[in-house]
């Protein structure tokens, strides 16, 4: 029989205001095995933990139940406290009477009743708990960063500077990401390339950093400290070692009609290409889908002109398998497709563009060499309209429910830059709200209005109608003047919502990292663990976790690096002892459990068993507890009931069910 102590936390008034904690104590004492029960204002405080420790020692407790907040908050705290007092930490159970009770119920009597039942279930479980001992696993002192944008680069640099090896895997032919596509950055109007390129060079030159461009993560196995990752290095068709980056192949390539990804499809590129001038590595790739040689067999111009003999049409995809202790996801974002917003005529007029396209138009290396002009006829615009919140803040399934966060600022930036460079162009911004929290951000927006005379109108645009003369009739609300505006514009720029890179879902599945309905990766705690995934060893950097501007992305990239370093600095990790175990007397060696195990943790061995005096050798399941992650799939699959999960055993869960239904 266990000797159980029950500790009921008030959590200030968080619990005590809705749950009668004294009553919970009183009722707990009636439960079997309970020899001690008390309540305290803050169980997680030093004093609260001391009370637990004292009770364990004085009452010789063999198990405890803490009725408090979610185990996801303080289970570790209380387990450590118990351990310090000499109790096995796995003899601690939490009854969640805050998130699952006091915070969601208003009626005191009802909440108290429920709290009593939750405590009762936890007590019933502890009665069946057994002491468990975690094992140990090693840590591979190398990190993987998925994505080579500013987030990935910064994380990799920070980890490498701490002395650990880092690999960056980047899908496109060059690192640099979205930031390399931007012209200027807010709120200081720095040239984006000028501040990004040095970081790219630093990463490429860093002795601890290895960059795989034109590569994708193909498979991930293992767990925190010991991941095994297959990386597919797509065939570049160019020998990285021989290529000198002279660029002659790109000049001579006869296939020039492929829309340039880097310039958002506003102009074209050759089939052999580097995405942009500062690309790292400065080695082109052959886009086989558009290469004449690969499509028809007749061409080979690039091989002929290459002095270094670097062109290799026979190159094949290569799979590299590496081991990592930590993985950082930095997969970034893209703008949403505008198919659902045809009222803005994006698909009907070339002069309706997204803000990211405007970045390329404003950039000296862009399709118009930095001249602001209409893509339809090359004329300079006189009247420009910016529409905010296109696809953001939509709860109607057409767009995204969230605020994309960066649009208000970049629109102010665009408006300002245009008014600065082309003072005769009128700029009108239609906004719902202007959201500019951040250091020097609101001042920046106000400068656009006060210094540059940008016309901000509160009200959304309802329709953009192309006119026969090529201009665009913008029909909008002016909510402050309470009128409907119909104005003609030469160009319309849509502040298009951003969304996580579509590939992230595939990556999250490989990493078993949680992801929300908007495809943003979920953090372990919204406030306190913002750069960690709930899956141990996976860290989040940049927009893959939520919309962010560059300063925030860099901050978070550093934070993710620190968390990864904290893991890599350890030599050994304690493993979760809540693993499956097979009862050799019941096991009949049918292999059902091994078939459902996602980790290959179950093998079969011939073991000698003593079944009621009969000694015989049987083929039975054996769980490798270093590999087992404790999901429990095998326990349900097992037809003979031999497989059970420590810490969540059949008897324990049934005891909880019984306690709740009693």
């Amino acid at each position: 029989m266990q000797r159980i102590g029950v500790f009921v936390c008030h959590c200030g008034s968080n619990i005590a205001a809705t749950v009668d904690v004294k009553k919970v104590v009183e009722m707990a004492l009636l439960e079997p095995g309970v020899v001690h029960a008390e309540d305290y204002q803050y169980m997680c405080s030093e004093a609260g933990q001391a009370k637990i420790a004292a009770a364990i020692r004085e009452k010789h407790l063999t198990g405890i139940v803490v009725c408090s907040c979610s185990p996801r908050m303080h289970e570790t705290t209380f387990r450590k406290a118990a351990e310090r007092a000499g109790l096995n930490p796995y003899m601690v159970e939490i009854a969640n009477i805050r998130e699952h009770c006091s915070w969601i119920h208003k009626d005191m009597e009802e909440a108290t009743k429920k709290a009593v039942i939750l405590a009762r279930a936890a007590i019933a479980k502890v009665n069946l708990n057994t002491p468990l001992k975690p094992g140990e696993s090693r840590v591979t002192k190398r990190a993987l960063v998925i994505g080579g944008g500013i987030a990935g680069i910064q994380t990799a640099l920070d980890i490498a500077d701490a002395g650990y090896e880092v690999d960056i895997v980047e899908k496109t032919p060059s690192i640099g990401g979205r930031m390399s596509q931007l012209d200027k950055t807010f709120p200081t109007l720095d040239c984006s390339a000028c501040i990004l390129t040095p970081k790219m060079v630093e990463a490429a030159a860093h002795e601890k950093i290895k960059i795989y461009t034109y590569s994708e993560v193909e498979k991930v196995s293992g767990f925190v400290g010991d991941f095994t990752v297959d990386i597919r290095k797509k065939a570049r068709s160019v020998d990285m070692d021989k290529c000198t980056g002279c660029g002659v192949c790109q000049e001579k390539c006869p296939s020039r009609k492929t829309p340039s990804e880097f310039n958002r499809g506003l102009n074209t590129r050759s089939a052999i290409y580097t995405p942009f001038a500062q690309a790292i590595p400065n080695v082109p790739v052959i886009d086989r889908e558009h290469c004449i040689k690969f499509q028809t067999g007749k061409c080979g111009v690039c091989a002929k002109v290459c002095q270094a003999g670097a062109i290799d049409y026979g190159q094949k995809d290569e799979i590299v398998t590496e081991k990592y202790g930590a993985i950082v996801v930095a997969t970034g974002f893209d703008t949403i497709k505008l198919d659902n917003y045809d009222e803005y005529a994006y698909s009907q007029s070339k002069d309706v563009i997204t803000s990211l396209e405007l970045e390329r138009i404003m950039n000296a290396a862009g399709p118009t060499k930095g001249h602001l002009e209409r893509l339809s006829d090359g004329k300079a615009p006189k009247e420009m309209v910016f529409i905010q919140c296109v696809g953001s803040r939509c709860s109607d399934n057409r767009g995204k429910s969230y605020c994309s966060k960066i649009c208000c600022m970049y629109t102010a930036k665009h408006a300002m830059l245009i008014r600065d460079k082309y003072p005769d162009v009128n700029v009108t911004v239609f906004y719902i709200d202007v959201r500019t929290p951040g250091k020097n951000f609101d001042e920046f927006y106000r400068r656009a209005v006060e210094q540059y005379g940008v016309n901000y109108i509160k009200g959304q645009v309802g329709k953009v109608a192309p006119q026969p003369d090529g201009r665009l009739l913008v029909q909008a609300s002016d909510l402050l003047d309470n009128r409907q505006i119909k104005m003609e514009a030469d160009m319309v720029v849509l502040a298009t919502a951003i969304e996580p890179n579509p590939d992230v879902r595939k990556i999250a599945t490989m990493l078993t990292a949680s992801i929300d309905t908007n495809n943003f990766l979920t953090e372990a705690h919204a406030k306190l663990r913002p750069v960690e995934s709930p899956t141990a060893g996976i860290f989040l950097s940049g927009v893959c976790q939520g919309p962010k501007d560059i300063p925030e992305t860099v901050e978070q990239a550093g934070a993710a690096a620190v968390k990864a370093i904290g893991l890599l600095a350890k030599d050994k990790l304690l493993t979760n002892p809540c693993t499956a175990q097979s009862d050799i007397l019941l096991c009949n060696g049918c292999s059902t459990c091994a078939n459902v195990c996602p980790y290959g943790a179950i093998t079969y061995e011939d073991k000698e068993v003593n079944d009621h005096g009969i000694r015989e050798t049987r083929r039975v399941a054996v769980v490798n507890s270093a590999l087992c992650q404790g999901c429990g799939a095998c326990t349900v699959a097992c037809p003979s009931g031999a497989m059970d999960l420590q810490g969540f055993s059949n008897r324990q869960i049934i005891a909880e069910v019984d306690a709740i239904c009693r």
Binding site: T509, A633, A637, N650
Partner: protein, 147 residues
């Protein structure tokens, strides 16, 4: 009937929630103060695939009026494939429940991610309402399957 008339029916509802998604979703519902009836009591399991159909039968046997199981969205399981197993097992179990005396509406599987506090609360409200509309689980009692 006349005896029970004055006694307000409060159902017993057991919710199995996986540790990684739906339990966290329930926590988020809590910290966001999204209410749902106190009739729901949550049991934490590591993964929805840990839920043995026996647990659900046991709950009904012991007097539960409804059992709901929540897991990660398909494809998002922390253990890669656990919720697929759970889905298959529950489909099979639910198809037989009516036969043994538990109406279809008394069981439900729902996928709730850690970010879906709103969904968790909405699901629980819906489910509880459904159980109220079904009333006390008397069929099992009539069949003497209930202890």
């Amino acid at each position: 009937m006349s005896i029970e008339k004055n006694e307000e029916f409060r159902p017993k509802i057991v919710a199995f929630c996986c540790n990684w998604c739906s339990y966290a979703g329930a926590d988020l519902a809590g910290s966001s103060r999204l209410t749902y009836p106190a009739d729901v009591k949550i049991i934490r399991v590591p993964c929805s695939c840990r839920v043995n159909p026996m647990f659900i039968l046991r709950a009904f046997e012991k007097g539960a009026d409804g059992v709901i199981m929540c897991g990660c969205h398909p494809g998002d399981c922390h253990y890669s494939t656990g919720n697929y197993y759970a889905r298959r097992r529950m489909t099979l179990l639910f198809s037989m429940l009516d036969f043994i005396g538990v109406e279809n509406g008394r069981t439900r599987v729902e996928w709730v991610s850690a970010a879906e506090g709103v969904k968790f609360s909405a699901t629980m409200n819906e489910f509880v309402e459904k159980i109220y509309s079904l009333g006390k689980n008397v069929r099992l009692e009539d069949l003497r399957c209930r202890s």
